[in-house]
Amino acid sequence: MIIKTHYRIEKNSIALVLAIILVSGIGGLFEIAPLFSIDETVESAPDMRVYTPLELAGRNIYMREGCYACHSQMVRTLKDDVDRYGPYSLAAESQYDHPMLWGSKRTGPDLARLGEKYSDHWHTMHLNNPRDVVPESIMPAYRWLLRTPLDTQDLSLHLNAMRRVGVPYDDAMISNATQDALAQATPELSTSKALMERYGEETNVRVFDGKADTVTEMDALVAYLQILGRLTALPYQESSSTQ
């Protein structure tokens, strides 16, 4: 019976095409489509803030350099993961991550709880040459970050594209993106107050790379690393309430 039906399908290329699309389509529809409609998929985190333009630029450098190939940003719900890195990751934490950077390999340690664990100075030294701080490290040296000024010109376009995919940036954030990026790494600028008003009092405003005169790619990347795991307090509250 089945063989007979198959005889018919394999004699007709269009039937074969349709059957393949139908049969292969079911799995994706069942698993992916509900993720957009089931409310519990992403927890609500009212204190969640968006990336500042400088942090977003840093995130783009993280992607450009392929950091995700060796570092995950996902603490699993396993005891040793939690003991080693901190509270397990929640879906809410990466809700503004277009794309997500959960990673698939830990050649180096997980970075989901990295923010404020080390000083800016340590990060700058470490990124410039990891073996200066950790002699056994096999991480590449990213010396060009410190000598490359950050391109801040088109940050408004970046924020605007992020808004179009659903991140709640407002008009003021978009139009002041370049100014805000410079302000975050240059505390003496009068504009840094406006930045804090837009992104919250907790925003890190400081010279990240130790060089006050220029805003470099190092500033952006360190600013991003220092905010990892700190966009919302939800994971820390959940872990204390379960204990």
């Binding site: 394999e10 290329s13 292969s24 519990e40 392929g66 929640l90 809700q95 277009h98 096999i138 590449p140």
Partner: protein
């Protein structure tokens, strides 16, 4: 080769190349300030090269209509060479970055040479460059033979092959410059993704047009797999790469999905790129070249049917096993485990079908390295699909995930299965295409086989050990309930395994170089011999289509 194109096809090719060149120049002009200009210039140069070749042959006399009575294999011939060149390149880069993990300063202090930027050069080079060209080249050969019909025209196969290689080239040049959307195995940015969709639709149309001209009532199994590969990859690629560019003249885009939905979409893509790019397509290869080479029919037709539909249905559910214990909802993870374990049935069905086909031809497996390549491929296919299902089980995954075991598993499939079936197919296909008795050197094929096998085994055993060591060190507690090892301890423990892996990779790479050499020498020898005698034309007489192409 170009003289085989009719005048109409030459003009069509000129128009298409000119159009792509124009787009390239336009992109360069609009995105002058952006890295996209580099891609624009390269696309323009690439097409300028094609146009120059076409113009050189424009005045060549019209090809003889006799050619339409034969199969059209020129794109396959070029595709095989491209496949091997990409293979050597991609594997060389792979071995380089393997050594970077033991000696991290081997990067000349250059941004473009840092691990994170050249890793996708390796993955794209071997998966899409080596694997993709092998699939396109063999699929065009197989679909003609199993349909007993010539390709419907001579322009579209070139458009598919050269357009696809333009995609690979631009992607691979882009990563060292920092152009990436950071999605694993889908790194090329939005405009390259659009270009690939255009090429891919042309591929599907070409395939279906050839099938429509077939002189056999049944579509052969190999074509089911090639069709599934073309169709499903199109769907996966389109959905996974949905993104909003920041501006038309910019490389940068932001993906439509975020966080958990993006994670599921990426691994739905990622796992099924393995299933439909690295499995279905190569099973198509296996189902044609293995029985042909062994001189025996496929063992079981029913097993082929069950395996094919099993793989097509179940793989699409399995992607979530890449996200165990993460913020992905548990119900999706559970579905992923279930289907991953069930996948053993169709996977082993295919592997068993291949091995049982060899039953009765084992003496040939012993004597003929070409057939042995295919046999080992089937064995590794069985082994790595078993390993995959095993690693998808949650407790196993809690140990294996994020470790080098995963990398070892991937290479068990990529080296042991994909590369072995490609080499086996190429070694049997090249002599058929060039109408000679065998490869230039049987001896080199034999050396290649043992280099490839020992390289693969060294690679797998070292990373299997590395991964399990890592996984165990990460979860070891001391008596006072604290973690025994720092992360750094586990990293230091990896060094001997990383060195061993680099050696295994080097052996495999050496084998691939021999394959390229052997194929080039075979082609040279064949062209010398065919100019001396017409023996080749007699040998070719049996390999002719029933349906030639329509006059154009």
């Amino acid at each position: 080769m170009l003289a085989q194109l009719s005048f109409r096809e030459r003009n069509l090719a000129l128009c298409a190349a000119g159009l792509v060149m124009l787009v390239g120049l336009l992109v360069t002009a609009v995105g002058w300030q952006d890295l996209i200009a580099v891609h624009g210039v390269i696309a323009a140069l690439y097409t300028a090269g094609i146009i120059a070749l076409l113009l050189k042959h424009r005045k060549a006399p019209a090809p003889s209509p006799e050619r339409l009575k034969e199969y059209y294999d020129d794109p396959t011939k070029i595709g095989i060479l491209l496949c091997l060149v990409w293979g050597v390149f991609g594997m060389a880069v792979g071995d380089w970055i393997a050594w970077l993990m033991a000696y991290p300063d081997a990067t000349f202090d250059a941004a473009w040479a840092s691990f994170g930027r050249i890793r996708p050069v390796h993955t794209t080079g071997v998966i899409f460059g080596f694997g993709g060209n092998a699939l396109i080249a063999t699929s065009l050969h197989v679909v003609q033979r199993t349909s007993r019909a010539r390709l419907p025209d001579q322009f579209s196969p070139w458009f598919v092959l050269l357009g696809y290689n333009l995609f690979c080239l631009l992607a691979v040049i882009g990563y060292p410059l920092g152009i990436t959307q950071s999605k694993e195995y889908a790194e090329p940015e939005w405009y390259l993704d659009i270009w690939l969709v255009i090429v891919w639709v042309a591929y599907l149309v070409l395939y279906l047009r050839t099938l429509a001209r077939r002189q056999e009532p049944h579509i052969y199994v190999a074509n089911w797999y090639y069709l599934a590969f073309i169709l499903v990859v199109a769907v996966l690629h389109t959905v996974n790469n949905l993104a909003v560019p920041i501006a038309v003249g910019s490389t940068k885009s932001y993906s439509l999905f975020s966080g958990v939905q993006d994670a599921m979409t990426q691994w739905w893509y990622g796992h099924n790129a393995v299933a439909f790019f690295l499995t279905a397509g190569f099973l198509g290869m296996l189902y044609y070249y293995l029985p042909k080479c062994a001189g025996r029919p496929i063992y079981s037709y029913r097993m082929s049917i069950i395996s094919f539909w099993g793989i097509t249905f179940m793989y699409m559910w399995a992607g979530s096993h890449h996200l165990h214990y993460t913020a992905l909802p548990q119900w999706v993870q559970t579905l992923g485990v279930g289907f991953s374990v069930m996948l053993i049935v169709p996977s082993w069905g295919s592997a068993a079908n291949a091995l049982l086909t060899l039953n009765g031809a084992w003496h040939r497996v012993r004597d003929d390295a070409t057939l042995r390549f295919m046999m080992v491929a089937a064995v590794f296919y069985g082994l790595s699909t078993f390993e995959g299902s095993f690693m998808a089980i949650r407790p196993v995954n809690s140990l294996s995930h994020y470790t080098d075991w995963t990398v070892g598993h991937v290479h068990s499939g990529a080296l042991g299965w994909v590369a072995f079936i490609v080499f086996g197919s190429i070694y049997s296909l090249v002599p058929w295409l060039y109408k000679c008795k065998g490869m230039y050197s049987k001896y080199l094929v034999e050396i290649h086989f043992w280099l490839a096998l020992s390289g693969t085994l060294i690679y797998l055993i070292s990373l299997w050990n590395a991964g399990i060591t890592q996984g165990l060190m990460w979860r070891t507690y001391n008596e006072s309930g604290e973690l025994t090892y720092s992360f750094l301890d586990s990293m230091i423990a990896m060094k001997p395994y990383y060195i061993a892996r680099g050696i295994g990779g080097f052996l495999f790479l050496t084998g691939a170089c021999l394959a390229l050499l052997n194929v080039v020498m075979t082609i040279k020898q064949a062209s010398r011999e065919s100019s001396r005698s017409d023996a080749s034309t007699r040998a070719a007489a049996v390999d002719l289509p029933v349906a030639g192409a329509p006059q154009s």
